[in-house]
């Protein structure tokens, strides 16, 4: 061809058609590769449900756990220290390497694998109100004076009945005590949908993929929003480090295969800790066999601390329960001022409202 312009056009045409074929091939390969990658990722991260044990096996497990001296346990087999999850350097000291969530917590159950899902069951029938867990927590976590990561409210129900022969002598006459006491251990609920984590403006607090809600103390700006947003008053300002602080389920112990300090120290085995992903763990068995309740269920926070035989709703203003504060009294309150005698007790009324 003489015309250089024409020849270049012809050449261009051939090149274009070849490029189109290669492009299509590349596109198909890329699409297939991407799809394969997603399928593989989904397959890798999908949690395979484990069959629940049969009823007879459940009963055997429960009996086994009931008789087992757990408070002296050192390494707990069910925590499986060999799965790599509890490696100290990967977790508590380097939490950025862990799958964590600052929001959209539904992802933790679907797209992020959960090797464990830690939960606590508190059996109120067994709690004797000895406050050993409170002391153990303070000891273990160096909790400053005046603030608590876990505490035990002592709830008194019933009333003092006027009785001329009653043993309690007051200016208003004699009374006979018709009361019953029960104890109410309280701790961070490590909610599956924690409002405290959502509201943190700087993503300093997070929920680990194994369910533990924690704070990065080096990031916290101390605004107090999470403390206000927690419905259970489980968070507080640490007066020493000047950041928000809270229960960690003793994550540093868990990552080494140990139980939380409050669980280990409980003399009556009222606190039971374990993995909800393991259907044979004591927590799973208790949840499957016992009637349990959670606190403030109507708020939709999905707490992971469950109570067996919670006799009294201590938050109910209209209940006949009266909260007594033996050790962990709320000193900044009108009740404490009344108890300590600095203000006169309120006049008896015919009930509220």
């Amino acid at each position: 061809m003489d015309n250089p312009q024409l020849s270049s056009q012809v050449g261009a045409k051939h090149t274009v058609s070849r490029r189109g074929f290669l492009g299509a091939l590349t596109a198909i390969a890329a699409a297939a590769g991407t799809a394969g990658g997603w399928v593989g990722r989904a397959a890798a991260t999908t949690i395979k449900p484990v069959a629940r044990p049969a009823a007879a096996q459940m009963a055997r497990l429960l009996a086994y756990y009931r008789t087992r001296p757990r408070w002296a346990s050192w390494l707990v087999p069910e925590l499986n220290v060999n799965d790599g999850w509890q490696q100290w350097m990967r977790t508590i000291l380097n939490s950025k390497n862990l799958p964590i969530a600052h929001d959209n917590f539904w992802r933790l159950g679907t797209t992020i694998a959960q090797p464990h899902h830690w939960a606590m069951v508190i059996d109120e029938r067994r709690c004797i109100g000895c406050q050993a867990c409170v002391v153990a927590c303070k000891d273990e976590n160096n909790v400053p004076v005046g603030v608590f990561r876990t505490w035990v409210d002592v709830v008194e129900t019933g009333s003092m009945v006027p009785d001329p022969a009653g043993p309690i002598v007051t200016d208003a006459g004699n009374f006979r005590s018709e009361v019953k006491r029960s104890s109410m251990p309280l701790i961070c609920n490590h909610c599956d949908h924690p409002p405290c984590v959502d509201v943190c403006p700087v993503k300093a607090t997070f929920k680990r993929a194994d369910g533990i809600v924690m704070i990065d103390y080096d990031l916290c700006i101390g605004c107090g929003y999470c403390i206000q947003a927690c419905p259970y008053n489980a968070r507080f300002f640490n007066p020493i480090q000047q950041t928000a602080d809270k229960c960690t389920f003793c994550a540093h112990r868990l990552d080494r295969g140990l139980l939380p300090a409050c669980v280990t120290s409980c003399p009556t085995h009222a606190r039971v800790f374990g993995d909800r992903n393991d259907p044979t763990s004591e927590v799973s068995v208790l949840l499957a066999t016992q009637a349990t309740t959670v606190l403030k269920e109507d708020l939709g926070t999905d707490p992971q601390v469950f109570y067996i035989d919670r006799e009294q709703e201590v938050y109910d203003e209209n209940s006949t329960a009266n909260t007594v504060y033996p050790y962990t009294a709320n000193l900044n309150s009108t009740d404490y001022a009344t108890l300590s005698g600095s203000t006169p007790p309120p006049a008896a009324t015919g009930g509220q409202g």
């Binding site: 600052h102 929001d103 004076v145 005046g146 603030v147 608590f148 505490w151 409210d153 309280l186 409002p195 959502d198 509201v199 943190c200 403006p201 700087v202 993503k203 300093a204 990031l219 916290c220 700006i221 101390g222 605004c223 107090g224 929003y225 403390i227 206000q228 947003a229 927690c230 419905p231 259970y232 008053n233 507080f236 300002f237 007066p239 000047q242 950041t243 708020l299 201590v314 938050y315 203003e317 209209n318 009266n322 909260t323 962990t328 009294a329 709320n330 000193l331 900044n332 309150s333 009108t334 009740d335 404490y336 001022a337 300590s340 600095s342 509220q352 409202g353």
Partner: protein, 446 residues
């Protein structure tokens, strides 16, 4: 008591974590939004009579806007980590993380608005001011655009109208998000309410109008000007409208929280225990509702009452006090309602130190100093000095002989070709919204 509640951290399980600074934060940001709304009344909604107040309201709004973050910054336990609000911003899930976005956009918008509002006056001052430093500053503030012809004035006017329109949205966002911070907290029965942003915005408008009223009286007294009763009456009319809306919302809140049949159990219990029988009875019913809303509504109901300077001043101060009490009742009341026990959490008033009356006064002092600084920088007296004389005087008649730039004798037209000072055309007509306020042209020269 061995442990005093004045120890801020206390030793109890539950305390009021948000103190006076957080009471003051919505108050100051409400004043920001409210005084901005007063500025837009003339800039956007055509209330020409209030036009002289618009520059003052804009300056007030800007000074308070710059002082507002001091409250939350002072309240944070780790103020040195404030940069994380940019580097680790948790948007949109955390309402508090929106703060910097909204605040920065508000500051930028205010800069644009202040530039446009004062550009012509600054250009005039750059040309005519006697003191060189003022002329220098005014020249810098014009950013080189010193024309004062009809076209540039119209352009300024257009910019002001646009910034006022966008700004009113940002002002509502700025204050509404603070209401949302409280309203979004389902852990607090007395805060968790969808009405919270609306209540905050309306009370912000109320407090902003009252603040501009007080500021007007203050600067008129300071400069020895005669107070224009028409401006006072008109401001009072707007105040009454906002107060009526505020009163309506207060009554709705009272009905939805204080009547057992209508309210959720927890809300009613704490509302009745704190506001009906408890420690907040006086601050709620007397200071917030009676003195803050009802008394001003009654006192400003008549035309004579609205035109009276003393009455208006006292009522404006009462309204400002009532809105502060409303912030106190919301912030303190919400935290006095215990989340996990049966008793009222004590909420001590701290006088000195962290989160105290002292720091609040300091923040207001910073805001006032900023206001003085901006009042010195910006030529805001343009409209006021014109209000003392009704007629449009030719610009050359009065002060021009004092200006060194023109050597023309008195009673001679200025040599400026087509326009005169301050945007008033030579035929005496004002070219528009801004020009209408500047009937006396010498006001830019101070």
């Amino acid at each position: 008591m061995p442990l005093s509640p004045t120890n801020y951290y206390g030793s109890g399980l539950e305390q009021g974590y948000w103190g006076l600074m957080i009471v003051t934060y919505p108050y100051i940001s409400g004043l920001v939004a409210g005084s901005f709304v007063v500025a837009t009344l003339s800039q956007l909604f055509g209330r020409k009579r209030l036009a002289p107040l618009a520059p003052v309201a804009a300056i007030l709004s800007f000074a308070l806007l710059l002082a507002a973050p001091l409250t939350i910054w002072g309240d944070a336990r780790q103020p040195s980590r404030v940069y994380e609000l940019i580097t680790r911003m948790h948007v949109p899930w955390s309402p508090m993380a929106l703060f910097l976005l909204i605040w920065i956009s508000y500051v930028v918008l205010m800069l644009v608005e202040l530039y446009a509002v004062f550009r012509a006056d600054n250009a005039a001052r750059a040309e005519w001011a006697e003191r060189p430093v003022r002329a220098k500053i005014a020249g810098l503030l014009t950013l080189g655009a010193r024309s004062r012809d009809r076209r540039s004035l119209r352009r300024d006017e257009r910019i002001v109208r646009w910034t006022a329109g966008i700004g009113i949205l940002i002002a509502f966002l700025f204050h509404g998000y603070i209401g949302f911070i409280f309203g979004s907290m389902k852990s607090r029965a007395l805060w968790s309410s969808p009405m919270m942003p609306v209540i905050f915005i309306v009370s912000a408008i109320v407090s902003g109008i009252a603040l501009v009223q007080v500021a007007y009286f203050g600067i008129a007294k300071w400069n020895g000007w005669k107070i224009d009763r028409e401006i006072v009456s008109e401001l009072n009319m707007w105040l009454i409208g906002a107060l009526l809306f505020d009163f309506y919302l207060d009554m709705i809140e009272l009905l939805m929280s204080g009547v057992r049949a209508y309210a959720p159990e927890e809300t009613y219990e704490w509302f009745s225990r704190l506001y009906f029988h408890g420690p907040l009875f006086w601050t709620y019913f007397l200071f917030q509702l009676a003195l803050g809303v009802v008394v001003p509504l009654v006192a400003l109901a008549t035309r004579r009452g609205r035109a009276s300077i003393v009455n208006s001043g006292v009522m404006a101060v009462l309204v400002l006090m009532g809105v502060y009490m409303m912030r106190w009742n919301v912030v303190a009341g919400g935290q006095m309602a215990s989340k996990v026990t049966n008793d009222i959490v004590s909420y001590p008033l701290v006088w000195t130190g962290y989160d105290s009356v002292q720091t609040v006064l300091g923040v207001f002092g910073v805001a006032f100093l900023l206001f003085l600084l901006f009042a010195w920088i910006f030529p805001w007296k343009a409209g006021f000095e014109g209000t003392t004389e009704p007629a449009v005087t030719p610009p050359a008649a009065g002060p021009v002989p004092t200006t060194p730039a023109t050597t023309s004798p008195a009673n001679q037209p200025t040599p400026v070709p087509s326009t005169s000072l301050m945007g008033v055309l030579e035929d005496g007509s004002a070219p528009g919204l801004l020009g209408a306020t500047r009937k006396r042209d010498h006001s830019g020269i101070q």
